[in-house]
């Protein structure tokens, strides 16, 4: 934290303390809005606020400049209070061009602030944004409910860099730093993290480094000196649980969770993947961790990725692959083989909007039923879901643990919002991570007529898991395969009774995972009028909704289900303590079907399929409407 700055601020009358704020940076996809948002996030983490982010960008790398579909946004909600969602309404919109204003104006709260780069409001851009010759800045009706700050962002950036002898393109790329500097000042954020980052990032390009730092500072100073901004805001540090924190994105947390599982289990991590949005970042992270013995394999296609994972698991490694929606579809047959061969592995699905190519960069939870049932034959496997960016770490660790303990492929569900979103993360002590014992078999496990033999499908009585025997040990030679296995011997069997027996056994094995699921935690009222059941990335929005509903006098509880298959054993008894039930999901109603099937209760779905996460208010409104019926 910038000590001098905070001292000045304390003495100033124009500083207003607030508990939370939501800022949205929006501009062309080439304007560097994601970068601006990430840097503002780091500064906010430095200021020790709680936070949640929502990067929202087009699937095209450089969508046509100035168009509404080319708008890239980064929304950040931060506060001294608990922050669980990226914010229902925006308090400050930074609009770098007319299209950014057009797309995002409706998200700004009445009375909220809009910083507008007026230099971009030229006839050509106005036309591209669909303002058809009418300048919104001149439209008093349109903006009358907002505090509008017209800033000559482009011109001032050009002015700041006039001595640098850069071409127009380079100068233009620096203007996001002006916006960042100004916004940092406006919310009393420290400027140091961004300065450090720029120094590091452009260490080999001193001129560019100097220019960016110069513009960043100009933006910050502009806030101080201009009289436009009569109020500066201050957000006190959040009261989080004691410990050491860092800001973390979901995809980073997934990577760290997998490395942690590998380290604690002493299993080599073999990670195999084919590039796909938004799962690719996991490959990018893991490929950097080679000194942890991690081998990453960029496969020729999605099917090869699951195949290599199976091969590595057969060899005794911790096999992991990750993909997104359409990739999971391609992996279906391979996952079936993993179920039949009963080899441990984790398949991470970073869900995105579907069907088909759908909305590659937008979030959705519509692969739950695919994960549960999207394979031929009776092919159950454990399915677990991460609920916040930081929880991705623990979910990845647990997925590996379940896979190895129960000798089964596990599907771990995340989504685009979790993977790209960030939050402050209490760094766990490695000693506190659950023990991870790997029961490799090292000698024959059975006797037939006095002879020692190895039966690859002999069962552990507690878990029903079969033994894991690594190639390389004499006396344990065995063959696996996709054909039905005879109980215990693992020989090919077409016996009708054996097939039914093995089908039931594989299902029972997955059910046994439930014995290891800890009791659910209820948030809010432990009995009452309404329970909201969530899974995955909806947790934050639901918790915020529960707070508001309880403040309104509705006795409301919520449970977040991490284990979807099998379900937590105490879920049924918890549901029985409430009058009504709602399941909010970013799909057409998938968990709700599973729960209705399991508990035969009139559970209400609440669905949103817009590629965007829930706002807490949407859940509050639906809950009130339901309870008033």
């Amino acid at each position: 934290m910038n000590q001098d700055l905070s001292d000045t601020l304390t003495d100033s009358n124009s500083v207003r303390s607030i508990t939370e704020a939501t800022v949205l940076f929006a501009g062309d996809s080439g304007d560097g809005m994601q970068l601006t948002g990430s840097q503002f996030t780091l500064a906010t983490a430095f200021a020790q606020n709680d936070l949640a982010t929502l990067p929202d960008f087009p699937a095209e790398i450089r969508a046509p400049a100035g168009t509404t579909y080319g708008v890239s946004g980064f929304q950040l909600h931060f506060g001294s209070v608990n922050v669980r969602t990226p914010g229902d309404e925006v308090d400050l919109l930074v609009a770098m061009n007319p299209a950014a204003l057009k797309v995002n104006l409706s998200r700004v709260r009445r009375g909220g602030a809009i910083v507008i780069n007026v230099n971009a409001f030229k006839p050509h851009n106005l036309k591209l944004a669909g303002y058809n010759g009418v300048d919104p800045l001149a439209d008093e009706n349109l903006l009358k409910d907002y505090q509008v700050f017209k800033v000559e962002l482009t011109r001032m950036t050009e002015e700041a860099l006039k001595d640098f002898n850069f071409d127009k393109k380079v100068v233009d790329r620096c203007k996001n730093m002006f916006a960042l500097g100004l916004t940092l000042w406006l919310y009393s954020r420290p400027i140091e993290p961004a300065l450090d980052w720029l120094s590091h990032k452009f260490a080999n390009r001193p001129e560019i480094q100097k220019a960016n730092i110069h513009v960043l500072k100009k933006g910050f100073h502009y806030g101080e000196t201009t009289e436009d901004f009569i109020v500066q805001y201050r957000v006190a540090p959040a009261k989080l649980e004691p410990g050491i924190y860092r800001a973390i994105r979901g995809v980073e947390a997934l990577a760290l969770g997998l490395v942690a599982a590998s380290t604690k289990s002493n299993l080599k991590l073999f990670y195999s993947s084919y590039p796909i949005t938004p799962a690719s970042d996991l490959l990018h992270h893991l490929s950097r961790y080679k000194n942890f013995g991690v081998k990453t394999f960029q496969a020729e296609d999605e099917i090869a990725a699951i195949g290599a994972t199976i091969g590595a698991s057969f060899g005794g490694s911790l096999g992991v692959c990750a993909t997104s929606g359409p990739g999971l579809t391609l992996k279906a047959e391979g996952i079936g083989l993993a179920i039949m061969t009963e080899l441990p592995m984790v398949i991470v699905n970073v869900q995105r909007g579907g069907p088909s190519t759908g909305l590659p960069t937008k979030t959705e939870q519509s692969d739950l039923l695919q994960s549960m049932y999207g394979r031929n034959g009776e092919s159950p496997l454990p399915v677990i879901a991460a609920s916040t960016p930081g929880d991705c770490f623990h979910a990845a660790y647990e997925a590996c643990l379940i896979a190895v303990r129960h000798m089964t492929p596990v599907i771990l569900l995340a989504d685009g919002y979790l993977a790209n979103g960030a939050e402050p993360w209490l760094i766990p002590s490695t000693d506190d991570l659950e023990d991870f014992h790997v029961p490799f078999v090292t000698k024959p496990n059975h006797k037939v007529e006095g002879k020692e033999v190895f039966l690859p499908y002999l069962r552990n009585e507690e878990t029903l898991a079969r033994p894991w025997a690594k190639p390389g040990i004499s006396g344990l030679e065995h063959r696996l395969g996709g054909l039905e296995k005879e109980h215990e011997t693992g020989s090919v069997s077409y016996d009708p009774d054996n097939h039914e027996f093995m089908t039931n056994l594989r299902a029972d094995k997955v059910k046994r995972v439930a014995k290891f699921i800890p009791p659910l935690t209820i948030y809010g009222d432990s009995q009452g009028d309404l329970i909201i059941i969530g899974w995955g990335s909806t947790e934050g929005a639901i918790k915020s909704a529960v707070d508001r509903l309880r403040a309104d006098g509705l006795r409301t509880g919520m449970v977040q289900i991490k284990h979807i298959n099998p379900l937590p054993p105490d879920l049924g008894s918890i549901l029985s303590r409430y009058e009504r039930y709602i399941v909010p999901e970013l799909n057409k109603g998938q968990l709700v079907r599973i729960l209705r099937d399991e508990f035969l209760l009139p559970i209400l779905p609440l669905n949103k399929i817009q590629g965007q996460p829930f706002k807490a208010s949407e859940i509050v409104d639906a809950a009130i409407a339901h309870c008033n019926q």
Partner: protein, 357 residues
């Protein structure tokens, strides 16, 4: 545990032999590599000869049985691993290269063999085949080519000749075939060879060389399907025609065939047949085969599509280059040396952190 149905098992455990100590080198023969499973190929199938040859060869190779793994896809040939008393996996259609790659990349010390067929490797698994060849994973690929889909009961395959009448092409196939050797060379194979089920001596010799080669060894084995495509290769295997219709490539030796009465020479880029007994040309005019020259391998592999030319067998191409798993392992070691062994606690804290007390 659910109630067990009335099965009087295990009667045929997959591994009957007690573990052998590696200190005393056990005596191994064909039986040591034969599993207890009944072999279920059709009587008279070419697969039997290949299985027997492999089972006889394995004990002669300098490898421990417990380090051997056979991986296959789907099809008649892919039942192979069940009959080998080694580690193995009968996987899914076309995907054996992916599983073998994951296994070998993570366990470089294992001796991995892949068994596949023309449909498995060149149709449904075509993509994986070209990529395993390009990467040069150190393992042996045995492609049993019978030019037909056997297990699905007789449809034309990607190596069936054009015009072939099958159940799925009653008026003749209109799809031109792949030449597997040319495909492998095009995919940057580091070792490409062709042999036959009915010439066990040559088969043994080629498999031995394939095993010696460091990298992906691609071996196409002409295999007779006596049910759906009987006699597809009789021109090359039967006494009456074999001599005139085949030529066996040997590195550094002139390309001669038909009991040394005919030779192959190059006319520009075109291989042509000449008679040693008539005319003015002699052995010294024959093309001396060089298995280290890719261009030559490509020209000679294309002779397979010319009905007037003898069919080449043997090692078409062999090249030494680093294997995929070596490079992968090397990178892990180099990065570890540079950065030191990973420390999980440090990694979790490797960001801007702050403390709340």
């Amino acid at each position: 545990m659910p109630t067990l149905p009335p099965i009087n098992k295990p009667t045929r455990p997959p591994s009957r032999r007690p573990p052998t100590s590696s200190a005393t080198k056990p005596k191994v023969d064909r039986k040591a590599y034969s599993s207890d499973q009944d072999v279920r190929w059709c009587p008279g199938c070419g697969d039997y000869a290949i299985l027997a040859t492999v089972q006889r060869l394995m004990p002669q190779l300098d490898v421990k049985r417990e380090n051997v793994v056979f991986i296959s896809g789907i099809g008649c040939s892919s039942r192979f691993p069940y009959y080998m008393e080694t580690y193995g996996m009968h996987s899914i259609h076309g995907r054996a290269p992916t599983i073998a790659t994951g296994l070998k990349a993570s366990r470089p010390e294992l001796d991995v063999w892949m068994v596949t067929g023309d449909g498995d490797a060149l149709s449904i698994g075509g993509n994986h085949l070209i990529h395993i060849l390009r990467r040069n994973v150190n393992l042996q690929i045995l492609l049993f080519n019978n030019q037909i889909y056997g297990l699905t009961k007789g449809q034309f395959s990607p190596t069936s000749e054009i015009g072939k009448v099958t159940k799925s092409s009653p008026f003749g196939s209109v799809s031109p075939p792949f030449n597997p050797i040319s495909v492998s060379l095009g995919a940057s194979s580091s070792f490409s060879a062709r042999t036959l089920d009915r010439d066990t001596k040559h088969l043994t010799q080629i498999l031995r060389r394939a095993h010696e080669h460091q990298g992906t060894s691609f071996v196409e084995i002409y295999q007779n399907c006596n049910i759906y495509n009987d006699g597809a290769f009789f021109d090359f295997t039967e006494k009456a025609t074999k001599s005139d219709r085949t030529i066996f490539l040997e590195h550094g030796k002139p390309m001669l065939f038909a009991n040394q009465t005919k030779g192959i020479r190059l006319d520009g880029f075109m291989p042509v047949v000449f008679d040693l007994e008539k005319g003015n040309l002699s052995v010294s005019d024959a093309l001396v085969y060089d298995e280290t020259t890719l261009e030559l391998a490509e020209i000679v592999s294309r002779m397979s599509q010319q009905p007037t030319m003898p069919r080449p067998f043997g090692v078409f191409y062999s090249e030494q280059r680093p294997t995929y798993e070596q490079l992968l392992q090397q990178q892990v070691e180099e990065v570890t040396k540079k950065r030191g062994s990973g420390d999980l606690g440090k990694l979790l804290h490797a960001a801007d952190t702050w403390t709340i007390s």
